[in-house]
Amino acid sequence: MKHLLSAGDLDRDEALLVLETAEKLRELADRPIKKLPTLRGRTIVNLFFEDSTRTRISFEAAAKRLSADVINFSAKGSSVEKGESLKDTALTLEAMGADAVVVRHQSSGAPHRLAHSGWIQSCVVNAGDGSHEHPTQALLDAFTMRRHLGALDGRRVAIVGDVLHSRVARSNVLLLSTLGAEVTLVAPPTLLPVGVERWTCATSYDLDAVLPKTDVVMMLRVQRERMNAAFFPSAREYSRRYGLDAARMAALPEHALVMHPGPMNRGMEISADVADSTRSVIVEQVTNGVAIRMAVLYLLLAGAGSAVDDTVPEQRRGRA
């Protein structure tokens, strides 16, 4: 694996390798000193053309825990805002010797373009591109589900909300079906893309019919602005038909998880009491995100094999 551009790039074995590697790296989070020397001397650039503090700090923490040098390149206030092209930005990073570029871009396919244009030699990790994909989010979601539910074969996952514009939904459909889960997308018809019937998942317009048969319900962020483009009549109507509140949560099986990729619109797609309930693993998703991103960076830059066993934790060398 040279790049991680799409969750569809991972076959079952590769996906499991990432998840199992992350499992080992996750243990680091419970140690007092959370750092491995694995990527010392390697340079990882966080190239963010779109604001996303959450994803950026997650990648930054992951890279730093592997002792990589991290350069944060935010398009805001940079040469990009002055009209520098993606190509020139890429050539600059290449000239600085980046080993991996973690890219977030508002344009679908921009990471693909970076990886395949010949502008740079480094690994490219897609940290979310337009309404295309967000593969590390799907990996951390699967990771979180597995920690609670075990293997995902036959598990039923409902992904609810603005599927049309969601990179999280696309990556999750691809990854979860690779891992054997049965995905149902739930949304008003206006927020499902034309052609969704060809995806490896089911679709439904009726959240109440789906919930009782669901092991995981993943709520997607719905921007209020979408109602101005007539995707739905009002925030209130959306919330009534597709929002997850306590009453709906009660319809879920006992063991079911509530997830959200964040940032949440409390009161819109998810009510505050649901978000803060014991079934919600939303905060844990964030913790797991660091482990997943460590695993991805490790596997891309240090190659296959075990992440932890053949490395020496920093503290044993008496450093921090």
Partner: protein
């Protein structure tokens, strides 16, 4: 005029070999064993003689975007592609919406001298879709404009479209419609379907084209004026056109070479070289377009030659410009998609790429039969050759060809404009 050529052994429209003498700007003689004393001999054994190609849809970019193309470079590309006349679209800067601008473009074409440049006038002022441009003034100008289009944008206001169709009847004009319902295509990036859903690119649904075509054929019939549909791209559009033509409605239509050959799967590379408007469609659409061109439902092939500088394509998909260059590859792509597949013979190619476009655009002196006395606007083509498309070798100022690295059939050997060689042995003269 003393220039004189004898084309030896050439096959008019792919028929029996003969000799053809071009002299005094006309086809002077045709027949076996012509000596053509004093004439420059063109060994055309096995080559096909076609009437000079006419492109109803070219973007020459001048004035305003001379970094992408000029009349000089665009007409050179046209001649190398076998064209003797091109219709220049008015989406320049300033837009060709006045007699002054169309006359400027017309004069630049005359000065370049490589192929006739017939300006198309904008339908509305600044192509803004609000107020009719001075269509009559453009018609009466030295450029004698007969075709009007806001190409690049749709004349989406139904009342304005109706008035435009009515108004141009006074001078036998034609509205060439870029059929794209704007509200259905806001931010559209590629054909809407399963692939756009997967790639996360905003969809350009077929219905956005078909709804405008349906409306406009009805409007044209209602007011009794001619409408021409630019770059038809969907199977549904073909069905509407077939229905309208069966009713006898005054509609004509064009298809681009790229919509006859390429499909949306290429977009999965996210390489904007494949970004074009209307977008590349499905294999079913391509098949329907080929059939429609073969049976005449679609009247003509038009290139929609759309040059863009490198930086407008060497970027992320959504930031890239839409369009492909096409003048130098058009005949090759038509051969590959229509002739080599058995859908069209060379007489059919002459009809769709010369006779009909000249007639639709009311362009005199082009698209004539290959008969003695006809203007010597002709193209000599070797269908047995093949070539690897190298963007660096294109005469166009821009390099945005989607065929880079592909092997295409055929080669334009020579192009003659009123008996003057603009291309000989594949090289500009």
């Amino acid at each position: 005029m003393t220039e004189k050529f004898v084309l030896k052994g050439v096959r008019p429209l792919g028929g029996e070999p003969t000799d053809v003498i071009l002299r005094d700007g006309v086809i002077a003689e045709m027949g076996a064993g012509l000596s053509g004393r004093g004439a420059q001999v063109v060994d055309a054994e096995g080559f096909i003689l076609l009437p000079g190609l006419v492109d109803l849809h070219t973007h020459l970019r001048e004035p305003g975007r001379e970094d992408a193309e000029t009349v000089e470079t665009g007409t050179l590309a046209a001649a190398l592609g076998g064209f003797t006349a091109v219709f220049a679209m008015p989406n320049t800067d300033p837009a060709a919406d006045t007699a002054g601008v169309v006359e400027q473009v017309y004069r630049l074409g005359q000065e370049a001298g490589r192929c006739d440049v017939q300006p198309i006038g904008a339908v509305t002022v600044g192509r803004a879709g609000r107020q009719l441009a001075e269509l009559g003034a453009m018609a009466d100008s030295a450029a004698r404009v007969r075709v009007f289009s806001d190409d690049g944008d749709c004349v989406s206001d139904a009342a304005l479209m109706r008035r435009a169709l009515e108004y141009v009847k006074a001078f036998d004009g034609l509205i060439a419609q870029h059929a794209q319902e704007p509200r259905l295509t806001e931010g559209a990036q590629m054909n809407e379907g399963a692939l756009s859903a997967t790639l996360g690119l905003a969809g350009w649904p077929a219905v956005a084209e078909e709804a405008i075509i349906a409306r406009d054929v009805l409007l044209a019939a209602h007011v009794g004026s001619r409408v021409h549909i630019c770059h038809v791209s969907t199977a549904g559009s073909v069905e509407i056109l077939r229905w309208a033509k069966a009713k006898g409605y005054p509609v004509t239509a064009e298809v681009t070479p790229h919509h006859l050959l390429l499909t949306e799967e290429l977009v999965a590379s996210y390489d904007p070289i494949y970004k074009v408007n209307p977008p590349l469609r499905s294999a079913e659409d391509v098949a329907a377009l080929r059939d429609a061109l073969a049976d005449g439902t679609i009247d003509v092939v038009a290139t929609d030659h759309a040059p863009h500088p490198v930086e407008d394509k060497e970027c992320e998909w959504s930031a890239a410009a839409m369009g492909m260059v096409g003048l130098e590859t058009a005949l090759a792509v038509v051969q590959q998609s229509m002739v080599d597949t058995g859908l069209l013979d060379w007489a059919g190619v002459a009809d769709r790429m010369s006779t009909r476009p000249a007639r639709i655009g009311r362009l005199a002196g082009h698209g004539c039969g290959l008969d003695v006395g006809a203007p010597a606007n002709v193209t000599v083509y070797d269908p047995a050759a093949s070539w690897d498309v190298d963007p660096a070798q294109l005469a166009s100022r821009s390099r945005n060809t989607p065929y880079a690295g592909r092997t295409l059939p055929g080669r334009v050997v020579a192009t003659f404009l009123r008996g003057h060689a603009t291309v000989l042995d594949g090289k500009p003269q």
